[in-house]
Subunit: 316 residues, 2 copies
């Protein structure tokens, strides 16, 4: 891995053209903010650039993808943003794995072998790094770009809630607001507005919430039947796993998502007492210390039983 | 009203001693952060100071009130912080109304007649103003003071979510984090941790949520029976009213709280389309454009009916 700093990264981008920006699959606010934000900066420099990802972009990000006009071209230089591993490109991995020229990321665990890597694991969001790159490119940050980058900051920090948000994150947000970022509107769209279908799903999820092991383990199950009943679907469930961890005394929060084939994807949330990535690791998964995930071939009930049992081993 | 600036305010405080700081009744994070933060600054200057309020301070603020040692003394100078009107002092109003020497606040509607008033309605939280005063006093902000002032910033802005949070608010937060404010821990305590009793109440509230007028009006009812069933009580319900406004399409959110005597207190939440203070005004209440409250002598069902009917008149 050829690690570079922000200035070097800006220097490289200045030299290149026809730049394809890869965002990760199941795109979130940070990868989208990075992708469209960097893309708009490159377009402003008179370059051709385009940001793409494998999956459909959730509608709540329409203010990002509808307000940029990206040209078609034959890609000459490939940049990944907020992508920790090539597998996370999803269906784009087939075409682009091994071909990434410049990797810009904030995941300490980054495994991408690019020509150059700009990695800052202290950044709460990859958008914090992109803001520095854009400033090193001497680009005037306009309202659209500010909205892109603010979106990444706020979504990756749970609206500046998590300890990962440093004073640098807050200062970056302040700059972006001065550049015109519509913080109130963005945060309402990201955190306050629930679709009717999601609201209905969340109500069912909360009604079905169950506690185990002296209420130190909390489980929410999301079944295909619940999607059918509410008109909701997996793309709008990212706010469910944090619910498992909100009740006082809960140390392990487990969300079991039933897949269409009857197998399960599980999201784990913990506090300091349990390493979620180790718990997920017992089932072949991984992630961060307080947020991790794994997949099990078993059905919802059996998966729940297995995870609850394994959790008990992690609780002293 | 003798309006003064931050420098003048600091100059006045330097001259005074035996300072009593009044916080508002039903204390929130902003008035407590101001009170204890300013008090600790004055103590650091070798003065005698004490911060008080009429009501019991919620337990989640223990990290503020348990970590300051306030002396007893005969008060010579009285300062109010984050108090918009003397009636908001609650039971302390009898003793202190008309006696406030210095009023520090961020409510545009402030009606207190003090010798001096430091008012900045652009500040998202009164703690933003106190930080400026403390810096003008040339006091080194320590971790405790930083925690106090950060608490005010984050609670009054819904964790930096609302449009009221400006770039100045974010910069103030950045400074406080650099001074040692434990932002991750504070935000978890303020926003992520629900007591078991509150969690149970919230689940009942969500199960009982009802929609009216093409789902443009959402109602949650909190009855005495629900408190009995869950072990919860009115002091831990401030997170309920925002729930009414979260579903897409809802323009008026109504929370009806049944009081022990069978009458009701109603919290109203709206978006731009409806002025909540006007809706509350129809029932003798008031507040802000998007958050207001009123009291009705009628029971829960009748109160709900009256408010839903009146809401329809406000929806075009």
């Amino acid at each position: 891995m050829n690690k570079i700093n922000v200035e070097k990264c800006a220097g490289i981008l200045k030299e290149k053209d026809n730049i394809l920006i890869l965002m990760h699959a199941h795109p979130d606010g940070d990868t989208l903010g990075c992708g469209f934000g960097l893309c708009s900066a490159l377009l402003m420099m008179g370059k051709k650039a385009r940001a793409i990802c494998a999956d459909e972009i959730p509608k709540k990000f329409a203010y990002l993808y509808e307000n940029i006009d990206m040209p078609d071209f034959e890609e000459e230089y490939i940049v990944s943003v907020d992508v920790a591993a090539e597998t996370l490109l999803g269906s784009l991995a087939d075409k682009y794995a091994g071909r990434i020229n410049l990797c810009i990321d904030h995941h300490a665990s980054n495994t991408i072998k690019a020509d150059y890597t700009l990695l800052n694991a202290d950044a709460a969001a990859a958008c914090e790094i992109i803001l520095k790159v854009v400033k090193a490119l001497r680009i005037r940050v306009d309202k659209y770009m500010a909205n892109c980058l603010y979106t990444g900051l706020t979504t990756d920090t749970g609206c500046f809630r998590y300890a990962s948000a440093t004073s640098n994150t807050y200062r970056a947000a302040a700059q972006l607001i001065d550049y015109g970022a519509e913080n109130g509107i963005i945060n309402r769209a990201m955190f306050e507005t629930k679709t009717k279908s999601y609201s209905a799903l969340e109500r069912l999820a909360i009604e079905g919430m169950r506690f185990y092991n002296n209420e130190r383990v909390c489980v929410i199950k999301i079944t295909q039947e619940m999607y059918n009943q509410t008109g909701s679907n997996e793309t709008e469930t990212e706010a469910i796993p944090p619910l498992t961890r909100q009740t006082e005394g809960v140390e392990v929060g487990i969300t079991v998502f039933e897949k269409p084939d009857g197998s399960c994807k599980c999201s784990l949330r913990t506090f300091e007492s349990v390493d979620a990535s180790k718990l997920a690791g017992c089932f072949g998964g991984g992630g961060h210390k307080q947020a991790a995930a794994c997949r099990l071939e078993s059905g919802v009930e059996e998966t729940t039983r297995l995870l609850v049992e394994k959790s008990k081993e992690f609780l002293k």
